[in-house]
């Protein structure tokens, strides 16, 4: 069994910005090869790992989706030995000055994001946060060398090394969504010695942070019976609104709202209670902000669930997660899958009576 802490630390340091996920996919291919029966890559780069169930064809299947793409920056201009940049994914520009980065040019170049002093900025940008368009990336290289190695369009990822913080928490960039990738890998490990009725598609999706293109296309191609999106949710932190955040260390959050099939929510809830796995409920009044948005409306529609790991300071280079929440998310998912029987789909209904899940005891 993988020790999740070092594995997650490793996952956090492998790039793979939206649309350019190859580095992380290659790492996952290696890790998932012994855990799955078949691996394939979608037309746009999502990784599909199949674990075959024992039921006869046509066999039901469950798709587990965790997006592997990360946010970051892209070079817009190489100028006088510095780089101007734009964002890939949603970033608060106030977080950027002083961040350590890697510029993925003709070779990987360490650098940092800097805010020029007021004397070098237009008057409207001299006070308050410096807008993204005026920030620069400095690689420490001389102008000619930089121009040789970096072009407009090159990607930039955060390079703050992960740090182990108190109470078995881990901090660093890209816990969104590498924490879920770790949980999904943990789930596959848990399933190694369990009899499976259903086919299981472990899918590391691409482009969640931009267009959800990975989840939409993989769900279409694989056409699963059920789908679960694994993602991170807002961890409670100083000054955060308590009604929209979830404490770390209190278990994964089960999503509730229009993206989620209520029967699946109830099934996960009952199972967590039965197994005494701590969980929280995350209400998502409009949409979940996850792959589930795309999964749910694929083809004729797929009953979908969202399982989230609370992460503090999301989309900053100092995200923080409780390792035990990653464990629990993986285990709960594995237990759910292991208990999927041939009749599960017969029990899903919209009737009030269906609140009693028909998971095999």
């Amino acid at each position: 069994m993988t020790d999740l802490l070092p594995y997650l630390k490793e996952l956090m340091t492998v790039p793979g910005l939206s649309g350019y996920e190859t580095p992380i996919r290659q790492m996952l291919e290696e890790r998932w090869t012994p855990l799955t029966d078949h691996l394939s890559v979608s037309r746009i780069g999502s990784l599909h790992g199949l674990k075959r169930g024992s039921l006869p064809e046509p066999k039901p299947s469950i798709l587990l989706s965790a997006h592997m793409d990360i946010i970051g920056l892209m070079v817009t201009k190489v100028t006088q030995g510095f780089l101007r940049v734009t964002e890939v994914g949603g970033l608060d520009p106030r977080v950027l000055p002083g961040q350590l980065v890697i510029v993925h040019g003709r070779q990987d170049l360490p650098g940092l994001i800097v805010q020029p002093p007021p004397r070098l900025l237009p008057s409207h940008a001299q006070n308050g946060p410096v807008p993204l368009e005026y920030l620069l990336v400095d690689t420490g290289l001389a102008e000619a060398e930089l121009s040789r190695l970096v072009r407009s369009g090159d990607l930039i990822s955060f390079a703050q090394p992960p740090l182990e913080t108190g109470g078995e928490t881990l901090t660093g960039p890209y816990l969104d969504n590498r924490a879920s990738i770790a949980a999904l890998t943990h789930c596959l490990e848990e399933l190694q010695h369990r009899p499976l009725a259903w086919d299981v598609w472990a899918v590391a999706t691409v482009q969640e942070e931009e267009t959800l293109a990975g989840a939409a296309t993989s769900a279409f191609q694989l056409r699963p019976t059920l789908a679960v999106a694994l993602d991170v949710t807002f961890g409670a932190s100083p000054g955060s609104p308590s009604y929209r955040t979830h404490p770390l260390g209190k278990g994964p959050a089960l999503g509730w709202g229009p993206n989620i099939h209520p029967y699946l929510f109830n099934s996960f809830k009952k199972l967590a209670e039965q197994l005494e796995i701590p969980y929280q409920t995350e209400v998502m009044p409009r949409m979940s902000g996850t792959d589930a948005i795309a999964l749910q409306i694929t083809a004729q529609g797929i009953p979908t669930m969202v399982l989230s790991i609370p992460v503090r300071y999301m989309h900053t280079p100092v995200e923080m997660v409780a390792i035990k929440d990653v464990h629990r998310a993986g285990r709960l998912l594995a237990e759910f899958i292991a208990q999927l029987g041939p009749d599960f789909m017969d029990t899903i209904s919209w009737e009030e009576s269906s609140a009693q899940p028909a998971i095999e005891a």
Binding site: G111, P116, G166, G289
Partner: protein, 372 residues
């Protein structure tokens, strides 16, 4: 030491050994008033060589490390007592309120741009307990909020969970580790570990013609306090503060405009040691400026003048000590000082070290007898 046959001087150089020392110094945490970690490295590096030279090392009441390397006994006639000062302290934080479960309110020690605090890893206390200064996720941030800076009141240090070893009053620094970036260096606290590393090398290579009085000072960032008492103790004939000064040699927002130039660069990376003319705390002694420039030009060592203007160094308190001490500052230029990650060029550091060494060796013994 390389043999400079052209100059007849063995100028000290920056090699692997010096870079490793600088790395240790930058990764050490020494917020003003708590300089112990850097002090320990200075003592570790210098105790043996100084004893070998028949010199002395002591720690004074403020925590300054005061090193004296005597002039050679073969030195004929009067010799000068030259004080060199490099501050050991760095800007950082102090925990001021425990809000439980590993969450602390903090205040800033020294000048730090509050806009550059959010989203950084930090290290707390002597055990270097890791933590972060977090920010609300962009998803929960209202569009108009991103145009407002996040005030210190709304920032917290988060250790993940309660830690019995951490308490109010503990210091914290940015967690950034020293890294080589091609011809450059990226680290926290290059201001002024570059100066400390330079001064360590100068003590190890102390010239025979002067009494070298090296002060590794405390509390520069909060009011030049250590240098003030060190200068009193030493009572030197003249003094040089060794520091790191900002390089604002960045592109301007308007850099496409014809005829535009960045006229407010302060210093430039790659242009060599920055010699001070005047800043807000000191008007440099012209005799010392002249000697420094002449030395650089004679030996072909690159140098630049720091643009006259604000800022200050230990020279600000040294030159007013006792009946007055002719003083000068020489800095290694560095971008982004007082932030999580600053950046300097190795060649600038090496040239600074070489220039200071050569200027000391060639110091005319009557330099302060002539009119300013």
């Amino acid at each position: 030491m390389k043999d400079h046959t052209r100059t007849g001087l063995d100028l000290p150089q920056v090699g692997e050994e010096q870079l490793i020392l600088l790395e240790r110094l930058c990764n050490a945490c020494a917020v003003s008033g708590d300089e112990g970690e850097v002090r320990a490295i200075v003592l570790d590096e210098l105790q043996e060589p100084v004893r070998h030279k028949g010199g002395s090392i002591k720690i004074d009441a403020m925590g300054n490390v005061l090193v004296v390397c005597p002039a050679s006994q073969s030195q004929v006639g009067p010799y000068l007592k030259v004080m060199l000062a490099a501050h050991m302290d760095e800007v950082g934080f102090m925990l001021i309120s425990d809000e439980e479960k590993g969450i602390f309110r903090f205040d800033i020690v020294g000048g730090i741009d509050q806009r550059a605090l959010v989203g950084k890893s930090i290290l707390v206390g002597r055990e270097h307990i890791p933590g972060v200064i977090g920010a609300n996720p962009i998803h929960l941030t209202k569009p108009n909020e991103t145009s407002q800076s996040i005030s210190l009141d709304n920032l917290r240090i988060d250790l993940g969970a309660e830690n019995k070893g951490v308490k109010i009053g503990d210091r914290a620094t940015f967690a950034t580790r020293f890294t080589r970036l091609g011809p450059s260096l990226r680290a926290k606290a290059l201001d002024n570990r570059l100066g400390v590393a330079t001064l360590i090398e100068l003590v190890k290579h102390s010239p025979n013609n002067i009494e070298l009085q090296a002060a590794f000072t405390v509390q520069e960032e909060v009011g030049l306090r250590g240098a003030r008492v060190a200068a009193y103790t030493f009572d030197p004939h003249l003094a040089i503060a060794i520091d790191s000064t900002p390089a604002y040699d960045l592109p301007h927002w308007d850099d496409g405009e014809p005829g535009w130039e960045n006229a407010v660069y302060n210093t430039r990376l790659g242009a060599g040691p920055a010699i001070y003319l005047s800043d807000s705390s000191t008007i440099s002694d012209p005799r010392l400026i002249h000697h420094m420039v002449q030395t650089a030009e004679t030996l072909g060592i690159p140098y630049q003048f720091r643009q006259p203007g604000g800022g200050g160094t230990d020279a600000g308190s040294i030159h007013k000590q006792r009946a007055g001490i002719p003083s000068l500052s020489v800095s290694v230029p560095g971008r982004y000082p007082h932030t999580a990650a600053s950046l300097a060029r190795i060649s600038d550091w090496e040239h600074t070290l070489a220039l200071l060494y050569a200027a000391l060796v060639k110091l005319p013994s009557d330099i302060i007898s002539v009119d300013r």
